[in-house]
């Protein structure tokens, strides 16, 4: 193997290495640090440069605009960390939304519809998981297929109709805020979910095993990690979160439609990649993704408030996506070059 040519890191001096890896300066230079700085910069510019941005009415609405993106990004982060992807999330959301409309029309109570919707979302995820882990198909192909399948199901269920007579006590819930603070209720839900997913990913053996799977699933399997089982359940979780997002989306707009959240998967994927999660798996953090979701939300909100045309908005979103894929690779490439050069220098000086 070619990697054995490089000496293990430990030999370059444990103290120096640990200093380099954990110094605050190093952390600031990390991808997460960079986009956090970018977020702070964007918020400052928007607060002072865009009239009406820092108003509590606007801030509350800006959060609502990214609630579904945030929810979907949580489980997508886990999937991308293990080197898989789920492109069917927005279609699954649409299917669940259409289902809510059909069930509501059939006379079921909203309290019954909510758990059923999450369950059906989870089943949608389970189908993805089954095709990926049992049949052994690549998740990219599987979820492009179910992207079309679930959107089609949504239209089969509800056609081009809209169901809009959901109970007002439920449809006004998402826009209610905690007291006078500009924090709508769905934000609290997102924070709670983010804490749970964050703990699972960053503070449990399961979370560590996800990185192992993403780095090398074969090696992870030999190390005793039940790769297929974990992958399957992550897809189920992704589907369940899509169901949950469908409930919030449907109630928030008080409208169950088959075309709900059409194309939202691209924004979610963009946010996850922008958050520093490697599309090749094995690398990335949840806080990074959450910062990226906020950054996308702040940029969109401030630009629209400043009367920027939708074409420019699309350019910005597209540009961010390309940067988010390019930049981490460029950084890794640069770091690798730097490390190799140091090794070469060291080798030269010792010989």
């Amino acid at each position: 193997m070619s990697t054995t040519v490089l000496p293990p890191k430990e030999t370059s001096g444990p103290q120096a290495s640990s200093f380099a890896e954990h110094s605050p300066l190093r952390r600031l230079l990390s991808w997460e640090g960079a986009i956090t700085a970018l977020l702070i910069f964007a918020v400052l510019v928007a607060s002072f440069g865009v009239e009406g941005f820092a108003d509590s009415f606007n801030l509350a609405n800006a959060q609502l605009d990214i609630v579904e993106i945030a929810i979907l990004s949580l489980t997508l982060t886990l999937l991308v960390v293990i080197g898989e992807i789920d492109l069917s999330i927005a279609s699954n959301l649409g299917m669940c939304s259409a289902l809510m409309g059909v069930l509501w029309n059939s006379g079921l109570s909203i309290e019954t519809i909510i758990p059923i919707t999450i369950l059906v979302g989870a089943l949608g995820g389970a189908l993805n998981g089954f095709l990926v882990t049992v049949v052994g198909l690549p998740s990219l192909a599987v979820t492009i297929g179910t992207l079309a399948l679930y959107r089609g199901m949504a239209y089969v269920l509800l056609g081009d109709k809209a169901v809009a007579d959901f109970p007002v006590s439920y449809t006004t819930w998402p826009s209610k805020t905690i007291g006078d603070l500009p924090i709508p209720y769905p934000t609290i839900l997102v924070v709670v979910l983010a804490i749970i997913v964050g703990i699972v990913l960053h503070a449990t053996p399961v979370g560590r095993s996800l990185y192992a799977i993403g780095s090398n699933s074969e090696a992870a399997r030999f190390a005793g990690i039940r790769v297929k089982r974990i992958t399957f359940w992550l897809f189920v979780a992704s589907g369940a979160f899509a169901g949950l997002a469908a409930i919030i989306y449907t109630l928030r707009f008080s409208s169950a439609r088959a075309d709900n959240a059409n194309g939202l998967e691209l924004t979610v994927v963009a946010a996850v990649l922008l958050g520093g999660v490697s599309i090749f798996g094995g690398r990335g953090t949840l806080p990074g993704v959450l910062v990226a979701v906020l950054l996308v939300g702040v940029l969109r909100n401030a630009l629209i408030l400043d009367d920027v045309s939708p074409e420019t908005l699309m350019l910005v979103t597209g540009g961010l996506l390309i940067i988010s894929v390019l930049a981490p690779n460029a950084v890794t490439w640069g770091r690798e070059r730097w490390r190799l050069r140091r090794l070469a220098q060291k080798a030269a000086s010792t010989s």
Partner: protein
């Protein structure tokens, strides 16, 4: 092993379903519970018809989607009106016409402190919560082209009076065929609400023309290919057909395409609802003499004046209130805050080049 696990998953799912269904049996909020108490802010203010239009009103247009020729023309009409009463005009909107994409823009316009919003709703209900918030903050909301639920807006500028559209289409055709002969209708789908309402008025208007007889109502399903074939079928079944009315933009364009390349060109008259850009070539090559549609620029013009009249307190949106809309003259608010634009615009060789949508 795998099988065993699958079996466990099934068991878990079954348990969840059982629990859910049990919960369902215990009742809850259903469609029949009827806790619908939501409505827009009550308009307690009274109208003062003599109030002048305020200076410097900020009126924003929010079409279904930007860069759509139809809405570009409509919003240009709005811009003209806003310039007339010395307000500030702007047009914003999403690039795709999806159900919820307008909500963010409504919130933004509210935040910017616009005086009036003219909106063509992509989804009659999805925009209502945001519009209600806007109205609570003093923004006047007028819908045009596509209405929102009544609770979400102050007034609706209706482009199509079903009666006027139905009757005038028959009158146009009667003139073209000398009030004599067999005619057919090429509609959209058999259950299209708009078209069926118009056809009822057409049948009523036809009673005034004893020389004309309606032989068939065909349905092209608003599909270009199907409409084309239906036209072909009509002419095979009734070779002595004198005229066709197609009250749908898809149908009239497909029928015109068929006629223009058939021996019936010029012998069978075609009229109905179409857009000038789709119909231009058929008007110029003589297939179609006249067709009609509302003029979107007048629609936008009237919408802007309605928003200004609301913001200035001339009207509150109640039935029977009157206001003046610039060069279009006086309008009266009808039932549910609806305002009718007026008779449709007829297009022919002389004027078609003045329209681009």
């Amino acid at each position: 092993m795998m099988l065993l696990r699958a079996r466990r998953a099934v068991a878990v799912s079954a348990a969840v379903v059982a629990v859910t269904l049990a919960a369902a049996a215990c009742g809850g909020t259903t469609k029949d519970s009827n806790d619908d108490t939501a409505a827009g802010p009550a308009s307690s203010a009274s109208a003062n018809p003599d109030a002048p239009i305020k200076d410097g009103l900020k009126i924003a247009f929010l079409p279904k989607q930007v860069n759509n020729p139809y809405f570009t023309v409509a919003d240009k009409g709005g811009e003209k009106a806003v310039t007339e009463f010395k307000g500030t005009y702007k047009e914003v909107g999403p690039s795709e016409a999806s159900a919820s994409s307008q909500v963010q823009y409504i919130n933004t316009l509210t935040q910017q402190g616009q005086d009036g919003i003219c909106v063509s709703a992509n989804d009659a209900n999805a925009v209502v919560p945001a519009l209600t918030q806007a109205r609570q903050r003093g923004v006047k909301v007028v819908t045009y082209d596509s209405d929102a639920a009544v609770a979400g807006r102050d007034a609706f500028v209706n482009q199509a009076d079903p009666e006027a559209l139905g009757r005038t289409e028959v009158q146009l055709l009667a003139k073209q065929i000398g009030e004599k002969g067999k005619i057919a209708i090429l509609s959209a789908t058999p259950n299209a609400t708009n078209q069926n309402a118009w056809i009822e008025f057409m049948k009523d208007e036809l009673k005034k023309y004893p020389g004309m007889s309606l032989v068939k109502v065909a349905y092209g399903n608003d599909d270009d290919q199907k409409s084309f074939q239906e036209t072909q079928g009509l002419l095979q079944a009734y070779p002595d057909l004198k005229g066709i009315i197609s009250p749908t933009t898809v149908g009239i364009a497909a029928a015109a395409r068929y006629l223009s390349s058939s021996p019936y060109k010029g012998k069978v008259q075609l009229t109905g609802l179409g857009t000038p850009n789709q119909m231009r070539q058929y008007v110029k090559d003589g297939t179609v003499k006249q067709f009609e549609l509302w003029d979107p620029s007048k629609l936008g013009y009237l919408c802007a004046y309605t928003a200004a009249a609301l913001s200035s307190g001339q009207i509150t949106g109640k039935e029977g209130e009157k206001f003046k809309a610039g060069e279009l003259g006086e309008y009266t608010i009808g039932k549910d805050g609806a305002i009718l634009l007026g008779p449709p615009q007829v297009f022919d060789t002389k004027n078609i080049d003045q329209f681009n949508f």
